[in-house]
């Protein structure tokens, strides 16, 4: 369908694509584990032990990804996207980047304010980033839930938009991020 286009469509850099798909899997796992663990008596301990290091890993990946994005040239928007759609896509991406950095920080800050030791795995501990304070803990705990739902909703919007371009507009948008084929 892109037969008349000279050369393949521009793509994100290989590192950007690896980071995108790795983080997609990690963030979805963290979201699903997060909502499941707070509703589970039997699975709580095991799920928390995964959720906590996963959140820290997401934070590390998100910082690398943000730096990578600032340092590299992004592929241009497709012609099929209207100015309004481009603004919406840009705003959505900014929101996703903000959430994938802020959400782990809120989790870390929440454990700090709750006076918990911040165990990553085994004896690996992180320092507290906030003073132990009950009211701060309560606010951050609530914030962590609200941001989780916001992150999930933003993901669903992102997925819907990509599926719409792939199945309805059929402009090959997903090839910009596809790692599996040209």
């Amino acid at each position: 369908m892109m037969a008349h286009t000279p050369g393949p469509p521009p793509r994100f850099s290989p590192l950007a694509r690896i980071l995108h798909w790795a983080m997609a899997a990690m963030i979805l796992a963290a979201l699903f584990i997060g909502v499941a663990m707070v509703a589970s008596l039997a699975g709580y301990a095991r799920l928390v032990a995964i959720h906590r290091p996963l959140g820290i890993l997401i934070l590390v990946f998100a910082v690398i990804r943000l730096v990578n994005r600032k340092l590299t040239t992004l592929p241009p928007f497709l012609k099929t996207m209207s100015p309004l759609e481009r603004r919406a896509a840009t705003a959505g991406e900014r929101l996703l980047y903000t959430l994938m950095i802020v959400q782990p920080l809120v989790g870390w800050g929440m454990l700090s304010a709750g006076g918990y030791p911040i165990v990553v795995i085994g004896s690996l501990h992180l320092p507290a980033i906030l003073p132990a304070r009950p009211t701060l803990y309560a606010v951050l705990r609530e914030t962590h839930t609200v941001l989780a739902f916001l992150l999930f909703a933003t993901f669903l919007a992102h997925l819907s938009a990509v599926l719409f371009h792939t199945l309805v507009v059929r402009d090959g948008l997903i090839r910009r991020m596809a790692s599996w084929r040209r």
Binding site: M1, F32, V35, A36, V38, L41, G115, L159
Partner: protein
């Protein structure tokens, strides 16, 4: 943000109406399925399932909502001191707490139940919760009770027992028929209550023994692991129960503890009981045979007591799964459930206005 366009390309021909509808439906189906799976994981599709929140709701039904207090073990007092390890525990666990030496300890003595102001009474379960501050940011938190076995062996039974104890609105007291029915349906709990009833009660906190009840796993430096339970065994000798006049005072058990600590530091031996293969590790209602190996691993000294109003332990969640490397949970289903439910109780009370604790600053001075 980049605004330059890709070179013009030919788009495929517009979709027919039927094809468009099918494709939009596929998108809706995919997104809907992911949202549905998320809702399922969050428990929104199973509103009657037992969750950490419904467990704490049941506590609030039994006790009312007591602003700022723990939903269970609500009436308590903060203490602090140190644990002096004798080094014997190193053979069982590589946790730094068992190396010969001294670590600071925060603690809390409390009475089971969600009532922060109810008068002390001899028959009530007493608890000792401890937080060992270990090197490198590690902590060991443990909550122990002065009963020999726990009253239930599953979170579900715990919940049913709670619901059976919700006060009848007409009498203001639990319906004895509901309690009796619970015990008929849960023979393990009935048997545990017989053991608890036969267990001698000490006169106060200061000469009471406190037990982990749940089993844990110790792992030593060689990687060998054993299942254990532990107890804090008092150095203080037994005393006769206080006379009726003193016992009429609302906080007489706490007053006795405060007075004892003001006289001299109180001490307990940390005694680890090592399971033999086949001993029940997933059932806290069952005692282990009395001939099991008991290892004294060190001495706890409590030399300071203060009201919750000033003690840091008011804002500590004594989650039994906050453990150092070398100590792990067992297959006891109560452990994960305690961890989950304590977290809900902690979040609720930390977001509420803190009411004055029964044991005030003046009483602990």
């Amino acid at each position: 943000m980049k605004t330059d366009d890709t070179p013009p390309s030919d788009l495929p021909a517009p979709l027919g109406l039927a094809s468009l509808v099918v494709r939009v439906a596929i998108i809706g189906g995919v997104v809907g399925m992911i949202a549905g799976a998320f809702s399922y994981c969050a428990g929104w599709l199973t509103p009657h399932a037992l969750t950490p929140a419904t467990m704490i709701d049941a506590f609030e039904q039994v006790n009312g909502r007591k602003s700022g207090f723990r939903r269970n073990h609500a009436k308590g007092v903060g203490v602090s001191g140190a644990f002096e390890s004798n080094g014997a525990g190193v053979s069982l666990s590589k946790a730094s707490v068992f190396r010969k030496g001294r670590v600071p300890v925060l603690g809390r003595f409390a009475i089971a139940g969600g009532q922060p102001y109810l008068p002390d009474a001899q028959g009530k379960v007493r608890s000792m919760a401890l937080l060992f501050e270990l090197p490198g940011g590690e902590e060991w938190r443990t909550g122990m009770n002065d009963i020999p076995v726990f009253t239930v062996n599953t979170p579900e039974a715990f919940y049913e027992n709670l619901v059976a104890s919700v006060p009848d609105p007409s009498t203001g007291k639990p319906d004895p028929r509901k309690i009796a029915q619970f015990l008929r349906e849960n023979p393990a709990s009935a048997q545990a209550l017989r053991l608890i009833g036969a267990h001698p009660k000490s006169s106060g906190f200061e000469n009471d023994a406190f037990n982990s009840l749940n089993a844990f796993r110790f792992v030593n430096a060689a990687g060998a692991s054993v299942f254990v339970r532990w107890s804090m065994v008092p150095v203080e000798s037994a005393k006769p129960p206080v006379d009726a006049e003193l016992a009429a005072h609302r906080d007489y058990l706490f007053d006795g503890l405060v007075g004892a600590i003001h006289q001299h530091p109180l001490q307990w031996h940390l005694v680890v009981t090592v399971a033999q293969p086949g001993d029940p590790t997933n059932d806290a209602t069952l005692p282990w045979p009395t001939d099991r190996r008991h290892l004294d691993v060190g001495t706890l000294t409590i030399d300071r007591v203060e009201s919750e109003a000033t003690s840091p332990v008011r804002d500590v969640n004594f989650d039994p799964l906050v453990l150092p490397v070398g100590i792990a949970g067992s297959d006891d289903p109560l452990l994960s459930a305690r961890s989950a439910a304590y977290s809900v109780s902690f979040t609720r009370r930390e977001s509420e206005h803190k009411e004055q604790s029964a044991v005030s600053v003046a009483e602990t001075r």
